[in-house]
């Protein structure tokens, strides 16, 4: 449980971070909360030459109101995100998902931007970011670019953030729809076996639109598009349950110690229905 020797650089600006990443070459790694990276280092599953600590860059900390959207600094802790009034008012689903991450000690250290950039398929916040149509600001040697959520998560632990780039922040269009994150796990601290993150626009007791992100049903978090389409016009629990029967469509569930793929698919259907019912109040 002792990592291989590495260098450590603490930076205070995005420019410094990019320079440090460049200097460190391909073995450089960004660290902020360290809650995913440190266990990997201690198990010697990764042996970076240098860690670039981006946890103290002002621009990457806190939540701000941008009018039609809110912007969350990538190094804001889970605890900070889930308790932020702007997040609670305009992106409640993100607060709900973040509140289920690991345990309070980890949420005080770990960062929501870090969890998004880590892109663990079993992580809770990517599904919420997908359902909320988040967009991501990525800085690199060539400047800054913005990537939509649907283009951000590429594969297992792989995002649009390149090795010489850094996730600065992510923005969420303000959303006042009903929301709910259903996380299915064996112990409170365990990763999700399956998760369903739902935001639902209900008018007059009828679902007008729904967006659903699924956790741990594919190499990345994914949208349950067939369910979303089937939900339009639904106004009863039975209709929601029927729509949710499509939750495993297009997924690529894996098998592990806690769940074989067929059970994951079954769970996805059950908890998607539950998430939508809780979000819609139907």
């Amino acid at each position: 449980m002792i990592p291989v020797e590495f260098d450590y650089v603490k930076v205070t600006s995005i420019d410094q971070a990019i320079s440090a990443l460049k200097a460190g070459g391909e073995d450089a790694k960004i660290i902020s909360g360290g809650q995913s990276l440190l266990p990997v280092l201690r198990l010697r599953m990764a042996e970076p030459s240098v860690l670039v600590d981006c946890g103290s860059i002002d621009e990457m900390l806190g939540v701000r109101d941008d009018g039609g959207s809110i912007t969350i600094g990538a190094a804001t802790t889970h605890h900070g995100v889930m308790n932020d009034p702007l997040v609670q008012e305009h992106a409640l689903l993100l607060a709900q998902a973040t509140a289920t991450v690991a345990d309070p000690a980890i949420r005080h250290r770990g960062t929501t931007g870090g969890a998004l950039a880590h892109a663990d398929p079993a992580g809770d916040v990517p599904a919420a970011a997908l359902a909320l149509n988040a967009s991501f600001v990525i800085a690199g040697p060539g400047g800054r670019r913005t990537v939509a959520a649907k283009d951000f998560f590429l594969d297992y632990f792989t995002t649009a953030v390149g090795p010489d780039e850094i996730l600065v922040s992510f923005s969420i269009p303000k959303c006042d729809w009903g929301s709910h994150y259903s996380k299915f796990n064996r112990t409170a601290q365990a990763w999700a076996i399956v998760g369903a993150a739902a935001v639902v626009n209900v008018q007059g007791g009828v679902i007008k639109e729904a967006r659903i992100g699924l956790t741990n049903m594919a190499p990345t978090a994914i949208r349950a598009s067939t369910v979303e389409a089937a939900l339009v016009g639904a106004s009863s629990a039975a209709q929601i349950t029927a729509a949710a029967m499509h939750a495993a469509d297009g997924t690529r569930a894996t098998s592990d110690l806690h769940a074989k793929a067929d059970y994951r698919e079954h769970l996805a259907r059950v908890i998607t229905a539950r998430a939508v019912r809780a979000a819609s109040g139907i």
Binding site: M1, I2, V4, E5, L43, D103, F184, R186, T187, A188, Q189, A190, W191, I193, L257, H258, A259, K260, Y263, H266, L267, V270, I271
Partner: protein, 790 residues
């Protein structure tokens, strides 16, 4: 005429633990905190394979690395390579293969030690492991106990030509006759899965030559400093009187630190060889493969009864997984359960057979309850199945068969004599706390309405045996140690008291509880009593802490030594007060002349007289101390009734412990707050086996649950608030009336949980659920029952 004075006593009071301020303020002294000048750190190269020939091993590359002081494989280590001891050869023909500290030519489990590096820092030692060259030729791994016993199976140990370690039989009465008489025979196979002790503080050991003498001091995170000293002397050849073993603060043990580990042997031998302190602390990853495991039995159990629910006989056939080697009491653990399968029930016959089986897995050994949780699980599960088979309410079936309170002392079919018990009282109290009838009504309503969340009630009316003793009984079972405990009590000239105990706490609160016992006899405030323990240099005699023995056995020694000290003091006080000893009464820590309260002498003053020795009666030696070494007359038998209300989400298989009520009878309680804490922790650990924990291997013998991400242990967030209660039926074989509480909750709770899940689903055709009852397992069980019903 004298008036009886009620002595204010600390006994039975829920006072806060003396230990806690020290623990909570970070003033602890864990073994890994020990920093000695010149220390070298040991890192271990472990086998990644379950079974393989070592075709090449070259440690020389490690020697070239920065900071490395030495590196050894088995060849380089020569005769310093241990022999991990087993002290319980249960049968005359038991197979006991050698267990060298470093594997010789072959590895037999993932985690086997292959080589060690010693370096000036822990990081340097770990880095240098990469420079050791080792090649393996993989051999077929033995992972399945039944397949292991078939002819032609690969062998874990070629030289013993079988994977059967031993076969132990204990026929009691004529089971076949009972079976022939029975209207109903219910047979089940239960899998009592393998568990991994995951104490908060991983194992750690430091050994240091002390320079000014030939002494080597060993600090180890162990439950058994006294036993470990004897075993290390025998294994290493270092004279016992040159070994001092200290267990500093120890962060949990649960049986996992009741051991003489290969790492302790290596560190001790290498400290002597290198002439400098050597330190090793296990990582959590090492903990998962190299700390001994627990449970892992296949239990075939058969119960024979009349159709109106009278139990006639019981047959138990076990396969007990030894793992790759025998450690301290590996073969004996199933035998601790052997006596307990008949539990609280009266019956005519009982037939027990256990086969110990070698496999290419981590060795098993004691884990909280050690044999008794396995037995209790099987009997409490099969009693529920019998109730279902004959259509009887499961609690009524228990009442019909249990030993009633007026039948004690009662000798069971397994030959144990239970001194006392009152199963009726504990059960009645538990049922009232639980609202049993109300929950049964809700269960019926949920069944009738087809609620997706079904409710079940799980019952466990258990007993167990604590405080392994007397020593001659252990001898008859071929256990190579005694069951006694020692205490020395000293009254110091300044009025303070030292209680030197042979028990070795690692979370139990002995400092508080032992002070309460001594205080109640000596009349000295609890805060003036210091309990000295866990250091063979300061507490030379002891048998340490395991098997819920510390209070049951050690508590008696404290009582006896304290009483002897009072008697010695009485003689001195009588001399001082110029009266006869029989004219004195001892009240609130002071000797008073009967009928003349103005003439008195406090114990502290007597201690000072004993110290100056200026005016002692003839024949009385200076100093005021007394000792006692007590070998109890029998085991003690706590019991209780545990009830669990289990909600099962039939759509997902997720289960929830909605309500948990337990009433434990642990006899007289020295400190009810400590009793409650032990019950809480124990119940949590038993629920963990039922719902969360389980070591899983693949067919090549790789441990799949090799980290806490996959081996799930519950936290407070996963458990309900427990409703605990007690009844007090004092033991008559233990002078304090105590019985032991360390394992009760763990033993009782596992079957209560599983019985509750099965009860919730029985109307769907479910008759068993495998442990751990994970959501997937429960869901698949429901699906299979639905398929079967079609």
């Amino acid at each position: 005429m004298t008036t009886a004075v009620e002595t204010e006593t600390a006994l039975g009071k829920p006072i806060r633990r003396k230990e806690d301020a020290h623990l909570l303020h970070g003033q602890t002294n864990w073994t890994d905190n020990i920093q000695l000048p010149g220390t070298v750190h040991m890192a271990i190269l472990r086998s990644p394979m379950a079974h393989a020939k070592i075709t090449k091993l070259d440690v020389s590359g490690a020697l070239a690395q920065a900071g490395v002081v030495a590196a050894y494989g088995a060849k380089e280590l020569g005769d310093l390579n241990g022999g991990v001891p087993c002290v319980w050869p249960v049968t005359d023909d038991i197979k006991m293969p050698a267990f060298p500290a470093l594997a010789i030519d072959k590895v037999r489990q993932v985690g086997d030690c292959v080589a060690v590096v010693l370096a000036t820092s822990a990081a340097a030692a770990v880095d240098a492991l990469d420079s050791i060259v080792v090649s393996y030729e993989q051999l077929p791994a033995v992972t399945d106990m039944e397949a292991a016993l078939e002819s032609g199976s690969a062998l874990v140990h070629d030289e013993i030509e079988t994977n059967a370690c031993y076969v132990y039989k204990m026929p009691c009465g004529d089971y076949e006759a009972s079976r022939a008489k029975a209207d109903v025979v219910v047979a089940r196979r239960f899998i009592n899965q393998r568990l991994i002790p995951t104490f908060m503080e991983p194992r750690s050991v430091v050994a240091a030559p002390m320079g000014m003498s030939d002494e080597i001091t060993i600090w180890s995170s162990t439950q058994i400093p006294h036993v470990l000293r004897v075993l290390l002397a025998l294994v290493t050849g270092i004279p016992e009187n040159n070994l001092r073993v200290v267990a500093p603060d120890v962060g949990g043990g649960f049986g996992g630190k009741l051991q003489c580990y290969r790492e302790e042997i290596l560190v001790t031998n290498l400290a002597k060889k290198l002439g400098r302190p050597v330190k090793w602390t296990e990582t959590r990853s090492e903990n998962m493969v190299a700390t001994h495991h627990g449970r892992d039995q296949i239990q075939d159990i058969e119960i024979a009864a009349t159709k109106d629910g009278k139990i006639l006989g019981l047959k138990v056939t076990l396969l007990a997984n030894m793992g790759a080697y025998l450690q301290i009491i590996t073969p004996g653990v199933p035998l601790l359960g052997m006596f307990m399968y008949p539990a609280i029930y009266k019956m005519d016959s009982y037939d027990f057979t256990c086969t110990g089986v070698f496999t290419n897995k981590t060795p098993t050994d004691a884990y909280r309850g050690a044999g008794r949780p396995e037995a209790t699980y099987a009997i409490e599960r099969i009693v529920d199945e019998l109730a279902a088979e004959i259509g009887m309410e499961p609690m009524e079936l228990r009442k019909k068969n249990w030993i009633t309170h007026d039948e004690f002392p009662y000798t069971t079919v397994a030959g144990l004599t239970y001194d006392t018990g009152n199963y009726e009282a504990a059960t009645e109290k538990a049922l009232a706390m639980f609202d049993y009838d109300g929950l049964r009504a809700e269960q019926a309503q949920r069944r009738a309405s087809g609620d997706p969340v079904q409710l079940g009630i799980g019952i466990s009316t258990f007993t167990e045996m604590c405080g392994l003793a007397p020593s001659r009984t252990l001898g008859a079972l071929k256990y190579v140690a005694g069951g006694w405990e020692h205490c020395t009590v000293r009254a110091l000239p300044t009025g303070k008291i030292e209680v030197v105990t042979g028990t070795s706490p690692h979370g139990q609160g002995h400092e508080t509880a032992w002070s309460q016992i001594a205080s109640s006899i000596l009349g000295v405030p609890v805060e003036d009593i210091e309990v000295i323990h866990s250091d063979t240099g300061r507490s030379p005699y002891g048998m340490d802490t395991y098997g819920s023995r510390s209070l049951a056995v050690g508590g008696q020694a404290i009582k006896a030594a304290s009483e002897r000290l009072v008697e010695k003091a009485r003689v001195i006080a009588a001399h001082q007060l110029e009266c006869s000893a029989s004219d004195l009464e001892f009240i609130n820590g002071s000797f008073q002349v009967k009928g003349d309260p103005s003439k008195s002498q406090a114990l502290g003053a007597v201690a000072f007289e004993a110290f100056t020795a200026h005016n002692l009666p003839p024949g009385v030696e200076p100093t005021l101390q007394a000792e006692a070494t007590i070998d109890p007359v029998d085991f003690s038998y706590p019991h209780g009734t545990h009830l669990a209300a289990m909600e099962v989400d039939t759509e997902t298989g997720q289960v929830k412990v909605r309500k948990y009520v337990c009433v434990d009878d642990v006899g007289m309680q020295v400190n009810p707050m400590i009793v409650e804490g032990q019950v809480h922790g124990g119940v949590a650990q038993g629920i963990a086996q039922a719902l969360f924990e389980g070591a899983e291997y693949d067919e090549d013998g790789n441990l799949l649950t090799a980290s806490l991400a996959d081996y799930l242990i519950p936290s407070a967030a996963d458990l309900p608030s427990f409703d605990t209660g007690t009844t007090v039926t004092p033991s008559t074989t233990h002078p304090l009336g105590t019985k032991g509480v360390g394992e009760a909750g763990t033993i009782a709770s596992t079957p209560a949980i599983i019985n509750g899940i099965v009860d919730a689903l029985r109307h769907l055709g479910v008759t068993d659920v495998a442990m751990p009852a994970s959501p997937q397992t429960v869901w698949r069980t429901i699906q299979a029952a639905k398929e079967g019903a079609k």
